[in-house]
Assembly symmetry: C2
Homo-oligomer: 276 residues x 2
């Protein structure tokens, strides 16, 4: 999916909601366990109930890997089931030497056909470029979503490491602009530090930001929008547990829909304030 | 596997060789493609031919993920096939917020029963701790192998980011010492920068270092040993492509053995020089 198509989806649905499919076999309603593939069955019902309210789904790959090969089958079925007009994010936090990142790109962009993947920057340019460089991926409108400033407490440990002029996460933003552009590169910026969005927007004014941390992790949607919205909206705000585990009985999908609707309604209102 | 057992293996085999199982369906001998599971069949023959010469195997998870669910089956069979006395490393470069890292730990330490996993430090303490903290993992002698200074060109981009007192990779080493110890935490240090090993040994004198980059990436074993060996040996030196793709015909396993034997012989000689 390209940037224009994503923006159109956002305006049409009045939503920049991304739903995180952190599907955990120990947390889904017990009655689903009798299904052949409970993880996929859960995801399918969540997708059916929310697909008109969100513009992206983000399966968290760790949750599928705990199930081994069977988990990858559930993941494959899930990605195949998501409607084409919805942006898909492999939340995988990968990144390795060039020939290995190339294999991860193959796994997530070809074997699984995701639109995008989250990538960790520690290993630098040649660990990120394989996800961006291929003519195939460029033509197919594949995206890297690079970790910049994450939503967790541990972000303090290294992301604020300061060389006197800038902090590491600022360096990641600035340097990575040479590797891609706002048509194939987004950034992860946690909702738990909305005040930093102002600084981040100075460096990447036109880029989409994937913002986790609203909901279970405590971030505020209004604060995120105040500092993070740009002329193209430029935000994908993720909620995982707050939506998919809103209910835990046979009406779980309706509960998830209601939770998603509540966020989408707030988003529509915030978008109308800025004239979208 | 605990540290003492690992050291005993090294002394017994006169080897600190780790063999990287970067098994690529497009690079293995063509005649294996008629097998039900060519990836596992290749790994099996490599393991049979080299298990007396190395102390660790390191499957590179990216290569298995390109094959989807089938790749995870090959990976599961491979890890089950590796003899118990050989240390196993999931080269996965994972790292995410706490509840997600916990799921990765479950995937690699429980579902797949690896002894260790490589972890990227960008997200800080709470992204690494779930791999270390569980009483289970401590009792089971599971290890984190944290990226410090990697072997690729892109290591220059952020790992040398300098706050005036130290570089980022030095900060990673120093700070992570508070999260674990030399009984459950190792570090990745690339062979392509052997001169840095001297500095690194000042910070982590007793820790094991996993050293990739000898062979295809150009690092020298002698240089690595000169600066990296400690009283417990303290090194696992990895070779992947140089061993597993040493041959490409029906004698590929013998070719791999010869390549491994050549490195092990050099290692035995280096160990005898320091009286091990």
């Amino acid at each position: 999916m390209n940037k224009k198509e994503l923006i159109n989806q956002i305006k049409q649905k009045q939503s920049f909601l991304c739903i995180g499919l952190d599907t955990d076999i120990t947390k889904i309603p017990q009655y689903l366990l009798k299904e052949d593939d409970p993880i996929f069955e859960f995801n399918k019902q969540i997708i059916d109930a929310t697909k008109d309210l969100c513009v992206a789904y983000k399966p968290n790959i760790a949750f599928y890997e705990t199930m081994g090969a069977k988990g990858w089958e559930s993941l494959q079925k899930t990605i195949d089931y998501i409607p084409n007009e919805i942006f898909t994010i492999a939340d995988a936090k990968r990144g390795d030497i060039g020939n290995t990142s190339k294999m991860y790109a193959k796994a997530f962009f070809e074997t699984l056909n995701f639109d995008s993947i989250t990538v960790a920057p520690y290993m630098g340019e040649d660990s990120v470029k394989p996800f961006l460089d291929s003519d195939n991926y460029r033509n197919d409108n594949k995206w890297v979503i690079l970790l910049a400033l994450t939503s967790n407490k541990g972000a303090d440990d290294f992301q604020f490491f300061d060389n006197g002029e800038k902090k590491l996460f600022q360096q990641v933003l600035e340097q990575s602009k040479q590797w891609g552009n706002d048509e194939n590169l987004m950034y992860v910026v946690g909702a738990t530090r909305p005040e930093m969005l102002k600084e981040i927007r100075k460096i990447v004014p036109n880029s989409f930001l994937l913002v986790p941390g609203v909901g279970a992790q405590g971030g505020s949607l209004q604060e995120v929008c105040k500092y993070g919205l740009n002329n193209d909206v430029g935000l994908l705000v993720n909620s995982s547990r707050g939506i998919i585990y809103a209910g835990n009985d046979e009406n779980f999908a309706t509960s998830a829909r209601n939770a998603a609707l509540s966020i989408q309604t707030e988003m529509a209102s915030l978008l109308s304030e800025i004239g979208n």
